[in-house]
């Protein structure tokens, strides 16, 4: 039951843009069922890091070792493109900040959810549709909206649809880039509630990039604080937030407005 290999092992990831540092020497292990939060100000390299992990960018140095279902731990960066794509649509999921980046806006909600199923070989319309209806229900979208296009959805619904589209193939690792960015607070709260439920229920591991400390407080088990491309502090979420050691973390925690 308990496994002694981490699901994702990140080793010395460095990415530079010419002379500028994107992120430098980042290493961490992510264990099955664990949620890792990455916080930091704009330009601190957190999105660069996430793109490197998810294979959207190629880092200059380092290794990203993922514990695959069939072959055990493998370096994702050394995989061939078809293997990486297969991984990206089965065991991995990527939730974009802007749902327009993660959804096909011209395709109905059902088609959006079904795309990953069809990409891995589902060829039975009825079953694809049933699965899509089931997932729309799980993210609290009414089943009668299945043939509507995402354009006709509100921002919060679009974000929930994007989550359904990503989780439909039962991934084990989810990357989220500011999943609550651009949503108002009440919609944010519902989305966080939903995400927390899904993560616990499916036993997902997740890497969440955000600048919103409330999001990591609710979702993340562990926290990494980045500044200027470097990881300056990491530890258990409550520990880092309640007893920040680094000056920048202290500043970050004290900058949150108290209502």
């Amino acid at each position: 039951m308990t496994r002694d290999t981490p699901l994702l092992s990140v080793q010395d990831i460095t990415k530079t843009y010419g002379g500028r540092i994107g992120c430098a020497d980042v290493s961490f292990d992510l264990w099955p069922g664990e949620v890792m939060g990455i916080v930091g100000e704009s330009g601190s390299g957190k999105s660069t890091l996430l793109s490197c992990l998810a294979g959207h960018l190629t880092p200059d140095t380092g290794r990203v070792v993922f514990d695959t279902r069939s072959e055990g731990p493998r370096d994702v960066l050394a995989m061939s493109e078809p293997e990486r794509r297969m991984l990206a649509r089965t065991d991995w999921a990527f939730v974009h900040q802007n749902p327009r980046d993660g959804l096909r806006m011209g395709v109905s909600a059902g088609g959006n959810v079904g795309e990953r199923l069809m990409a891995v070989g589902a060829r039975h319309y009825g079953r694809i549709r049933d699965e899509a209806i089931d997932w729309l229900g799980r993210v609290e979208i009414a089943a009668d909206r299945i043939d509507d296009r995402p354009r006709q959805f509100s921002g919060g619904m679009q974000q929930r649809l994007q989550i359904a589209r990503n989780l439909v193939t039962g991934p084990r690792l989810v990357f989220m880039d500011e999943p609550t960015g651009g949503l108002d607070v009440s919609v944010q709260a519902r989305l966080l509630d939903l995400l927390r439920g899904l993560v616990r229920q499916m036993g997902l591991s997740a890497v969440i990039v955000t600048h919103d400390l409330a999001v990591v407080r609710l979702l993340a088990d562990r926290l990494m604080v980045m500044k200027g491309g470097q990881v300056i502090e990491q530890g258990l979420t409550d520990q880092v937030l309640d007893d920040p050691q680094h000056a920048y973390t202290q500043l970050l925690v004290s900058s949150v407005l108290q209502v």
Binding site: E81, R89, S108, G114, E115, M118, Y125, I146
Partner: protein, 289 residues
């Protein structure tokens, strides 16, 4: 020939370049081979790709047939046939059986093709994934990686919106279990004829600068869902001139009071059946014997 145009309009270097693209296309069935498409003396969309492929294939001994929507007598077919009569001085015919090279727009002849014949299609948009994924770099990568889930998303949308796969022409096919290909805007009624035919099928897209091919006896499968299988549909009528119930039909409006007739879109097929004595619902009455 020295004072004439070069045989079949194109210069020899151009024909050589096109033949190389054709050979590559034949070697990799369904793969879109880029080629340096030339300006032709007709507008894009009138078959510049097909004309270049035909020109590269023609020999002085060939007998050419040109059809447009199945018909030998429409503007597009007549002009292209005349073009090759003038520039290549090849024999022409309207009979499918006698032709060695057939250039077609939007149809496959009803009469089964035979070994040694070449069918050249005019293709407006060769990329089957184009309307789903606008980036050429991405569609090429999808072909390279056989990443074809998106094609089924289109069919899914069809069923979700219309209750059935409503795509009725340019219906996507998979060639020899590998490349997904746009069969040019032929009706899906013609799709089964793409597969396993003894003739060579070549596709030329002039504006998009692509050539692809289906060699003889290649397996071509129309994409579908298990519970919504592919159906080759046609109007549920028989031809009103030759009485054929199995050929693809054109609907012709005959008056402004709802009058209509259905006739074979393949004029050669219809004419040869009438010559053989077949009659349809609206055939002219013959003198009583």
């Amino acid at each position: 020939m020295s004072n004439h145009y070069n045989f079949a309009y194109l210069d020899e270097q151009t024909k050589r370049m096109i033949r190389r693209a054709i050979l590559k296309g034949v070697a990799v069935p369904g793969y879109q081979v880029p080629f340096a498409s030339r300006e032709m003396p007709m507008p894009y969309g009138w078959g510049t790709g097909g004309v270049q492929v035909t020109a590269a294939c023609l020999t002085p001994e060939d007998r050419l047939k040109v059809i447009d929507q199945g018909a030998d007598d429409t503007t597009n077919a007549v002009s292209i046939r005349k073009f090759f009569q003038r520039t290549a001085e090849v024999a022409v015919t309207e009979h499918t059986a006698e032709a060695t090279v057939i250039q077609t727009r939007h149809r496959i002849p009803e009469r089964p093709l035979t070994a040694g014949q070449i069918l050249v299609y005019q293709v407006p948009i060769p990329e089957p994934l184009r309307f789903l994924e606008p980036r050429e770099t991405e569609t090429r990568r999808m072909h390279a990686l056989e990443d074809y889930g998106l094609m089924h998303v289109k069919l899914y949308e069809d069923i979700a919106r219309n209750g059935a796969i409503a795509t009725s022409y340019a219906y996507p096919v998979k060639v020899e279990g590998r490349y997904v290909m746009d069969p040019s805007p032929i009706p899906k009624f013609d799709n089964p004829k793409l597969s396993g035919t003894p003739a060579l099928q070549l596709f030329g897209a002039g504006r998009e600068q692509r050539i692809y091919a289906i060699p003889p006896f290649t397996e071509v499968i129309s994409l579908d869902f298990e519970d919504y299988p592919f159906e080759a549909t046609k109007a549920p009528h028989a031809c009103d001139l030759c009485g054929d119930g199995g050929s693809y039909l054109d609907e012709v409006i005959t008056d402004d009071a709802g009058g209509r007739m259905f006739v074979c879109s393949d004029t050669d097929h219809c004419a040869s059946r009438q010559a053989a004595g077949h009659r349809g619902r609206l055939s002219p009455q013959e003198d009583a014997a």
